[in-house]
């Protein structure tokens, strides 16, 4: 007290400022706690899963059958279905999304951009369950009428994958447009000055220059597709199956987790622990993809900033 009055213009200690800052810091730390919580829960339950005498890590990673009823825990069928749907989604979503992005950034007038971008936003804002319904009531009947009802099963990974492609399309288009627009105008002008046409400039100058941003986008989209749940839960079918045929039903990692947890599963059962082990696999895959994507895009920002 005495010291403060001695220096009337000195810095006063303001307790409540410190309290507020600490509170805000703690709320920011909660996000770290969430990550730690996710990692801790997944690892702990997975540890319980793998310490079960029926489960061996090697069988889990290489086994071709997932039948918990008879103690077979090979996760390849689930992984295979997840990859099948994701690859189909990427095969549809990447080219179309990229083309939309090129159209928006290089060709579209301000007016048509003003119409198209909100449409993409609407598409991106539709809940995934609606896409699942779309897969079930539109895409599957469409595929069946094209390829024949005997070839295409009622539940199949192709339908789920295609609709998932539509789901990631707006995300790819928006992020890819950002990446393409970030390429400096000088690069385009230099190409025109050398006699390049618009399309040559786009493909040989702009796209290569935006490549790091684009690959970051594609990785993030892949991560989104791998973690996507409701579309595959509705349209891809129940029951794990190792098949290369996209017209057959096959359950994905996420589809399995939803089906098992949707029923009444009792704690500490092998079923309960198994969804956490699969969750861990899912988390590791998507985490790696997200981190790589982030790394690439931060490199990209350094290039032109």
């Amino acid at each position: 007290m005495h010291e403060q009055t001695a220096h009337p213009f000195g810095k006063r200690k303001r307790i409540h400022e410190r309290v507020i800052e600490t509170t805000l810091f703690l709320s920011a730390m909660l996000s770290i706690l969430i990550t730690v919580g996710i990692a801790f829960i997944l690892i702990r339950e997975s540890y319980l899963f793998f310490s079960d005498p029926d489960v061996r890590l090697l069988d889990f990673l290489t086994g071709k059958k997932w039948q918990p009823m008879i103690g077979l825990f090979g996760f390849l069928p689930l992984l295979n279905a997840t990859l099948t749907t994701s690859i189909i989604a990427m095969a549809l979503g990447i080219p179309i999304g990229l083309f939309v992005a090129i159209y928006l950034s290089e060709y579209a007038s301000d007016r048509s951009r003003g119409i198209l971008k909100p449409i993409l936003e609407v598409l991106a804002g539709i809940p995934t369950i609606v896409y699942g319904y779309f897969a079930l009531t539109f895409m599957t009947p469409l595929l069946r009428s094209i390829f024949g009802e005997t070839t295409v099963e009622i539940y199949n990974t192709a339908s789920a994958g295609l609709v998932m492609g539509i789901l990631v399309l707006p995300m790819i288009a928006t992020m890819a447009e950002d990446a393409i627009s970030a390429v400096p105008k000088e690069l385009r002008l230099a190409s025109y000055a050398l006699g390049g046409t618009k399309i040559e400039t786009t493909f040989r100058v702009v796209i290569p220059a935006a490549m790091s941003g684009l690959s970051a986008t594609f990785l993030l989209a892949l991560s989104r597709a791998i973690g996507e749940t409701m579309i595959v839960a509705l349209a891809a079918g129940a029951g794990p199956k190792l098949t290369a045929n996209p017209f057959e039903a096959a359950e994905t990692i996420t589809g399995y987790i939803v089906r098992i947890s949707g029923g009444d599963v009792s704690y500490n059962s092998i079923d309960y622990n198994s969804i956490f082990a699969l969750g861990l696999v899912l988390f590791l895959i998507t985490f790696t993809l997200n981190l790589t994507s982030r790394k690439i895009s931060s490199l990209f920002h350094q290039e032109y900033d």
Binding site: L30, I32, I38, I41, V100, V130, I226, L234, V258, Y267
Partner: protein
């Protein structure tokens, strides 16, 4: 005479230029086609949903109205006295007692009695349903089907109607509605907001206004971006292990009172709301940070210049200046939570529940879960119900988003007037 240049003759150059331009045009067509395709997908999606929400239904009555009163084909043709007499004689004693207890037959309106008779005596069963498109174009086939089925008749039904919004989840698709699911969704969103908004905005203020550029804060930022890309189903697993299981006595309310519904086992609105709160937290943080970034540094500097402290500057200058953007970002994040299905299924939202949620310790179901349940059923009529529920969900989302945009515009206008 052709001019010869380094790149060949003029014709060579011209053909090459022509070719290059054609290639350019082809690609432009491809880009335009892709964009059209994206729009087409949106239109198809909406049409599919609308298509299944309206259309013909083939029904068959368990008891024909003509067998109750000879010569009358529909309950609607019954006179008031006939309605009361038929209801009194044909309703089973249990149902009659319950109905009389709610409101005596004599005091009920004619429409009320018709509805009672249809639900408990006539009991129409859905044989087959058609979408709007089929109903308009394949009327002949629909007629033939109806004739081939003994005792069946056709009605054109709008699956989205007043009863659909007011009724609870019924086992009979003709009388099923979304009231319980709708209330569940609202409760969940409320909890999500109360949990994620203060923490999210607080984190964003810390990261944007206080944080130094050091290792810890860079990790914090990277971690938030990572969290925003973690699949939603993982949050479901987190919620299941933490809120439903580990904190069961808290989330089921048994810690506070013994009167709460014990059958919920922690699978309550509180658990669901907190799980979705964790899910949208990174989204709210990122959106709020963007809003704070948009506040010009000069505003902060002038506030410091007149002697305000850091917090005074944030509270009196930065937050009011960015308020509408923060609000918009939050509403957009909440509309994402409103559409989430997977995490709530994982934490074990009830699949069949016809009792309205009464508080945060109630069992619950939400609109997206209801859509999931109905879509997953093989019977046709449930698909129609799912379509109608999707329309309700999309309308709700549209209302939320337009509120966000409206509030933003209004606040921006007010600010312009003040300055």
């Amino acid at each position: 005479m052709q001019t010869q240049s380094l790149f060949g003759t003029e014709t060579d150059i011209n053909t090459l230029m022509g070719k290059r331009k054609r290639i350019g045009l082809l690609w432009k067509v491809a880009f335009l086609f892709s964009t059209t395709l994206a729009i087409l997908f949106l239109i198809l999606l909406l049409l599919t949903v609308i298509d299944s929400s309206f259309g013909y239904v083939a029904l068959r009555n368990e008891v024909e109205p003509s067998s109750l009163i000879a010569g009358k084909k529909s309950v609607k043709d019954f006179s008031r006295a006939e309605l009361e007499r038929v209801a009194a004689t044909n309703l089973s004693s249990g149902i009659l007692r319950r109905v009389e207890y709610e409101k005596p037959l004599e005091q009920r309106t004619g429409n009320d009695l018709v509805a009672l008779l249809e639900q408990y005596v006539i009991k129409p069963k859905v044989l087959k349903t058609w979408g709007l498109w089929d109903s308009l174009t394949h009327t002949k086939a629909i007629d033939e089907y109806s004739r081939s089925e003994e005792g069946s008749y056709l009605t054109f039904k709008s699956w989205i109607n007043a009863e659909f919004f007011l009724a609870d989840q019924s086992a009979d698709p003709l009388h099923a509605g979304i009231r319980t699911a709708f209330l569940g969704s609202l409760w969940i969103i409320l909890i999500t907001f109360l949990f994620a908004f203060p923490i999210g905005v607080g984190s964003a203020i810390y990261l944007q206004e206080y944080a130094q550029d050091n290792r810890l804060n860079r990790i914090l930022q990277l971690n938030i971006f990572n969290l925003s890309a973690v699949p939603s189903i993982i949050y479901g697993l987190l919620g299941l292990a933490v809120f439903v299981r580990a904190m069961q006595s808290f989330t089921s309310g048994s810690m506070f009172s013994s009167l709460t519904d014990a059958t919920a086992n922690g699978r309550t609105i509180l658990s669901g709301g907190l799980t979705l709160g964790l899910l949208v937290l990174p989204v709210i943080i990122i959106n709020t940070q963007e809003a704070l970034k948009a506040v010009p540094a000069s505003l902060r500097m002038s506030s410091y210049g007149v002697g305000a402290t850091k917090w005074q500057t944030i509270w009196h200058q930065v937050l009011p200046a960015s308020g509408e953007r923060i609000l918009t970002g939050t509403i957009l994040a909440l509309s994402r939570a409103l559409g989430e299905t997977a995490p709530l299924v994982v934490i074990g939202a009830s699949t069949f529940i016809s009792v309205d949620p009464t508080g945060i310790f109630s069992k619950f179901t939400t609109l997206p879960i209801q859509i999931y349940q109905w879509s997953a059923r093989p019977q046709g009529a449930y698909r129609n119900l799912a379509g109608a529920a999707i329309i309700a969900l999309l309308i709700l989302l549209m209302l939320m988003n337009s509120t966000a945009i409206y509030t933003r515009d209004k606040l921006a206008k007010k600010k312009r007037l003040e300055s």
